[in-house]
């Protein structure tokens, strides 16, 4: 037996790795599965793989592009295989986890074994492999079973091995290329290019290092060899992975994926990066820690132990100690030169890995930020810790295992001692990583977890829905919270649960959903059945799925909070309950306005407004079924010929200062900056230089110039304060103070001058901004008493200048005044004509509408000139919902430290919007004022930002309560220190219910081109291809296609797919966005013919697939031949 073990020792090593790969069997019990969050698991993985084959995902609202995920065709294949063969989702998943666990371990084993084959190194091989499987970097990936990362962890050691062996000429170039290509095919990191940072880093270092070593040995001719190897490896990689690389390259050059690379601009990328690497200090990384979740998530199931427990903290230093001692005794460990070369390569990985994994964390974070800002494409590595961590973990684990194994060999003179120490090391490694064994790491934010038991009614509903026709569209209710779908039984995901079990179109307010979805939800909540049916019908929605088991991310609100919405839905005459399984009910929507995915349009309404007015415009349409709304944005850079068929023009009026940002003439409250470099400093010219550069940069852009002027005017004010606070006061200070006042006035005058260059509506916006700045600055100067000790006259004249400017602006500004119940709009007409005006009434009936100061008695046939018109809607005075007399007779509140006044809003209705306004003065201490919403008996506090400047300020805000808010209070409570005291005075407190109507004008026009859509029928070949048959078209018409607009959709006048290879599509300039989301083509061909509509990126995928398939075939053929060859 012992002889057998000795003979087959490596087999036993592999068996040990496999045995420990069975750890996932401990995770799932009693039908539990992993689903949700970012796990990407689908309840039918085989159907999901088929969907992934196509570049268009029909289930995501009205469809979405997803050719970015082609790499998952391979990465998610194991789960499809295991679940299919076991016919059990839970067991199939367990096998998938074991597969990945084993693959990670064995890849490290192969790597170490390639260099340390001797039997004596068994500990190194096994310990290194186990450590590579059991570490906290991977554990944070296991909670969502991040297969892309596992795949990357497998590819890293194997890829480095094959490059190393080829460059050192131990492998022939052909063998190297074949093995490398095959590895990169099987372990493609899900085709997630952002994860390739690690591979590029590791492979790049290997190439450069070994080329340098080769040059040292065999002169410069080696560069040619390395170059040849590099090119062939790159070709091999690209060829075999073409099926996902080609689509991604195509998207990169065609702007399909540009939003993925520049989400929120460079500054938000840097901000995000700094959040991710906030705890990636060198000392944390060197202890193999620094995972962002460990420090940010209070509900983390095990992190607190490793962060707080003194023993675990002490144990975390062991790897670092091993490394230090390893370095100390490196020479004495007497390695041969060949292995030493490898160790140096790994040390380079370690150093670079450490630097890149720390990302923007000090002390070298500035270099990383520089790379993000200036190296094109580097911004994709915006979470450095996750993107480069693999290189650090791989190299560090290798080094620790290497030095530890050599120490054991040196220290343990007797075999028994060696075995004892080795087993102790294994035991310690596994014991230290104990969270791997209980599976609680799946609970990421209790009760939300990725380890769930799916209720039987969900599976039953899934089965029912999957039997429905392919073009079924299902609206989800209640709507998502913060764009996430979450349930009482623990499921939480940014993607909706129904999308995980069906490829039917699931409509929900998920990320980037179009306006029409928000409108549909709004209409149900407002009980407006007719307009709901118009919108639901025209967008093809035929079902509503109500879920009674929803639990929002705040863990408070449930489906019960939306009882009124459910009641509205059930009261709609055209909505009938179709099927009920447990907590899920499916309703059938019988809209008379239903249109199929392809239909003709006979009337275009051209709307010069943003899509937020969609529901109001739709509610006015006489025939919404074959009418499409074309928003202004949709015809930009397009063929305007479509407008010739327009039967109606709609122009929306824009409400001024009635969103979250309100305006009043006394509004201020901006914070002044803290200035370190004062005009008295010798370095001040640097700061002035920068200001001049910015102002010159914006000399032809008045809006940006105004922003710069106002920003710098704040700096001047802060500088005045800084100079006045100087300990020694000399004439020099007074000179600089006068100069700063002068500069300040120049800036404000420049801002006013720039504003005069803007069109009326933009000028009005600029005036409001200037007024807010001036009020803030005036208030700030008012509390700086010491300023007036210096240049009294100059400050008096400055004060007069500011007050006059504020008053002048007050007379010019056109803005909504909620305190006077006047809602104001700008209406911009590009043509004079006769218009009808439409004002949505809401619940408020009595109102006066005026245009340019004239009250309207008739709303139809108004003669309006071209240009900007001022529209005002005035309501009767509305009751103040705050009863201040409860607190004080005078109506003014004065509160001292420790006092607290709570003022409830009377007759509160969560459906309404409220406007709150009060004046306040904080004389001492810090103020605190807040609006407190009572949601399900729990208070939710919204702290108000008040200025502590000892003068009267005005505060106003709009409150949009949650649907389930029971009551709202306004609360004041001065805080500070008891010794210094705190005082706040508040007066003119007013809270009123407000309603901001939508206002637009419409004009019926006679279309220049008479459009009559022909009879048509269509067939769906697959999610990316449709064929539409047109019969006897007699005039140009608009072909509407109800999937989300994407310029990848192309229409060809062709009979079949093959013809599209040689034909040009209908020009993109005739491809429009209809109703703010769907596709429409202007077709001007007469007669009977067919139109093939295809999603073009699918063709790119097909091309890539052919190249990949051929490459794979060649690789397998060569491998087979080499094996057969004697």
């Amino acid at each position: 037996m012992i002889e057998f073990i000795k003979k087959h020792s490596k087999l036993f090593e592999i068996i040990l790795i496999f045995f420990l790969s069975l750890t996932p069997l401990l995770w799932l019990k009693g039908g539990q599965i992993i689903l949700g969050h970012d796990s990407g698991f689908r309840l039918d993985p085989t159907a999901h793989l088929i969907n992934l084959f196509y570049s268009w995902d029909p289930s995501s609202n009205f469809g979405a592009d997803w050719f970015w995920f082609k790499g998952f065709l391979v990465t998610q294949a194991p789960e499809a295989f295991f679940i299919t063969i076991t016919k059990s989702f839970a067991f199939g998943q367990q096998l998938t986890f074991i597969f990945w666990f084993f693959c990670i371990g064995i890849s490290m084993y192969v790597f170490i074994n390639a260099f340390f084959k001797e039997k004596g190194h068994w500990f190194f091989r096994v310990f290194g492999s186990l450590f590579y499987m059991y570490n906290f970097f991977l554990l944070q990936a296991w909670f969502i079973v991040e297969r892309a990362k596992f795949s990357l962890f497998c590819a890293l050691p194997l890829g480095v091995l094959f490059i190393y062996k080829t460059l050192t000429k131990e492998y022939s170039v052909l063998k190297g290329v074949i093995l490398f290509s095959l590895t990169s095919f099987l372990f493609n990191a899900g085709g997630n290019t952002t994860l390739y940072g690690v591979l590029v880093l590791a492979y790049g270092i290997t190439f450069v290092y070994l080329t340098a070593v080769n040059i040292g040995k065999r002169k410069y001719g080696e560069i040619v060899y390395s170059f040849k190897v590099g090119i062939l490896f790159a070709i091999g990689f690209l060829a075999i992975n073409s099926y996902w690389v080609l689509p991604q390259l195509y998207s990169l050059f065609n702007g399909y994926g540009s939003n993925l690379l520049s989400v929120g601009g460079i500054n938000s990328i840097i901000e995000w990066e700094s959040v991710i690497t906030k705890n990636a200090s060198f000392i944390n990384l060197l202890r193999l820690q620094g995972m962002p979740d460990w420090y940010d998530n209070n509900l983390h199931t095990y992190a607190y132990l490793f962060v707080r427990n003194p023993f675990l903290i002490a144990f975390s230093f062991i790897p670092l100690l091993i490394l230090f001692f390893g370095f100390l005794y490196h020479k004495k460990l007497s390695l041969d030169k060949r292995r030493n070369k490898l160790i140096i390569l790994i040390l380079l990985f370690f150093l670079f890995g450490l630097f890149f994994t720390a990302g923007s964390h000090p002390p070298f974070g500035v270099i990383y930020i520089f790379l993000i800002k200036h190296v094109p494409g580097f911004a994709i590595f915006r979470s450095a810790f996750y993107k480069f961590g693999g290189a650090l973990w791989f190299s560090y684990i290798f080094l620790i295992s290497f030095y530890l194994s050599l120490f054991l060999l040196k220290v343990a003179k007797r075999k028994k001692m060696y075995i004892f120490l080795a087993i102790s090391s294994f035991y310690f490694l596994l014991a230290y990583h104990f969270p791997f064994f209980n599976g609680n790491f799946f609970i990421w934010n209790e009760p939300f977890t990725t380890r769930i038991t799916v209720p039987s009614y969900v599976n039953e509903m899934a089965g029912y829905i999957n039997k429905m026709p392919v073009d079924t569209r299902i609206l989800l209710l209640p709507e998502f919270d913060n764009q996430a779908d979450s349930y009482q039984w623990g499921f939480w995901s940014l993607d909706s649960l129904p999308r995980l079990f069906t490829n039917k179109s699931i409509i929900a307010n998920s990320a980037n959903s179009p306006e029409i979805i928000a409108s549909i939800y709004y209409l149900i909540s407002q009980n407006e059945e007719n307009t709901f049916l118009r919108l639901a019908g025209s967008s093809g929605i035929t079902k509503v799925l109500w879920r009674d088991d929803v639990l929002y991310s705040d863990k408070i609100r449930t489906s019960k909070n939306f009882g009124q919405v459910k009641k509205n839905l059930e009261n709609f005459n055209s909505v009938k309950l179709e099927k009920k399984f447990g907590a899920w009910s499916l309703y059938k929507v019988e809209s008379p306005y239903y249109t199929s995915i392809f239909h003709g349009i006979n009337s275009i309404t051209y709307a010069q407004s943003d899509s937020s007015k969609l529901k109001s415009i739709f509610s006015q349409e006489e025939n919404p079924k074959n009418t499409a709304i074309l928003f202004d944005e949709s015809v930009k850079d397009k063929d305007k010929k479509i407008l010739l068929s327009s039967g109606k023009n709609v122009i929306g009026a824009d409400c001024v200062a009635c969103g979250s940002e309100t305006f009043s003439q006394t509004k201020g409250g901006l914070l002044m900056p803290e200035i370190k470099i004062l005009p008295t400093s010798p370095f001040y010219y640097l700061s002035s230089l920068r200001e001049q550069q910015v102002q010159n940069l914006h000399k032809n852009n008045p809006s940006l110039r105004i922003d710069a002027d106002l920003g710098y005017s704040n700096k001047r004010i802060a500088e005045m304060r800084g100079i006045a606070n100087a300990k020694v006061k000399t004439d020099n200070e007074i000179f600089f103070l006068k100069q700063t006042i002068e500069k300040y006035q120049i800036l404000i005058k420049d801002a006013l001058e720039q504003a005069s260059l803007l069109p009326e509506d933009k000028r009005n916006e600029a005036f409001m901004k200037i007024s807010i700045y001036l009020n803030s600055q005036f208030g700030y100067l008012g509390m700086q008493n010491n300023l007036y000790d210096y240049a009294l006259e100059d400050f008096e004249s400055l004060s007069i200048f500011m007050q006059e400017t504020i008053n002048n602006l007050g007379n010019k500004i056109w803005a909504t005044n909620f305190t006077e119940n006047k809602i104001r709009y700008f209406l911009n007409l590009d043509k004079a004509g006769i218009y009808d005006i439409h004002v949505t009434t809401g619940n408020v009936q009595s109102q006066t509408v005026s245009i340019n100061g004239e009250n309207l008695t008739e709303f139809k046939n108004l003669i309006l000139d071209k240009g900007i018109h001022k529209v005002e809607i005035a309501y009767p005075i509305i009751e103040n919902l705050i009863d201040v007399s409860q607190a004080t007779e005078s109506g003014e509140l004065r509160m001292q430290f420790g006092e607290r006044v709570r003022l409830p809003i009377k007759s509160f209705n969560p459906k309404e919007k409220y406007f709150a306004n009060f004046d306040y003065k904080i004389s001492q201490g810090r103020s605190n004022a807040s609006i407190i919403e009572i949601i399900k008996d729990k208070p939710h506090t919204w702290n108000l930002l008040l200025s502590q400047n000892n003068i009267w300020n005005s505060f106003s805000a709009i409150l949009e309560p949650n649907q389930d808010t029971k009551s709202v209070n306004l609360e004041f409570y001065p805080t500070g220190f008891e010794t210094t005291g705190a005082t706040i005075q508040v007066k003119n407190i007013k809270v009123i219910s407000i309603y901001v109507p939508e206002v637009f004008v419409s004009k019926n026009v006679v279309p220049s081109i008479a459009t009559k859509f022909p009879k048509m029928s269509f067939s769906r070949l697959n999610p990316t291809m449709y064929k539409v048959s047109i019969e006897n078209s007699t005039s140009p018409f608009v072909l509407a296609f109800g999937e989300s607009y994407n310029k990848g959709w192309r229409a060809y006048i062709a009979e079949n797919f093959f013809q599209t290879l040689f034909l040009k599509p209908i020009p993109e300039t005739q491809h429009y966005t209809l109703n703010g989301y769907s596709n429409g083509w202007l077709i001007d061909k007469k007669g009977s013919y067919s139109i093939v509509v295809e999603y073009f990126p699918q063709k790119i995928f097909y091309a890539g697939l052919i190249v990949s398939g051929t490459s794979l075939f060649i690789v397998v053929l060569i491998l087979a031949k080499r094996r057969v060859r004697p």
Binding site: F282, I283, L286, F317, P362, V366
Partner: protein
Amino acid sequence: MNEIDRITLKVKNLFIKHQPFILFSIIALSIPVLLSYIPYVNLVYTLDNGMLIYLFMVLIFIRPSTKFLLILGIALLFLTLIFLLLGLAILAEQVGNIVFFLLAIGVFSIISAHFSETKS
């Protein structure tokens, strides 16, 4: 020569003997400190960075043995552990940065030893 004179002379002697090093360390220390006060420059070149670079320059100048540095590294590791146990994470991070530098020096010394052996 009395005792005071003797000590004075000894100090003078020490100063003259180590004058280049003392001058170097003063200049090397003052440069990062000054740079970290210049506006805009200090956005990139903070006092923290400056101190690490200073430390690095001093190490290059006095050239202690790698063995000494690694032992120093191990000692600093214990200091870091103590800081962490006391909940002084910020201090631990700063000491950790020095540990990283010492580790990096260890890596460089291994690399240079390997290449010098290979050449010979």
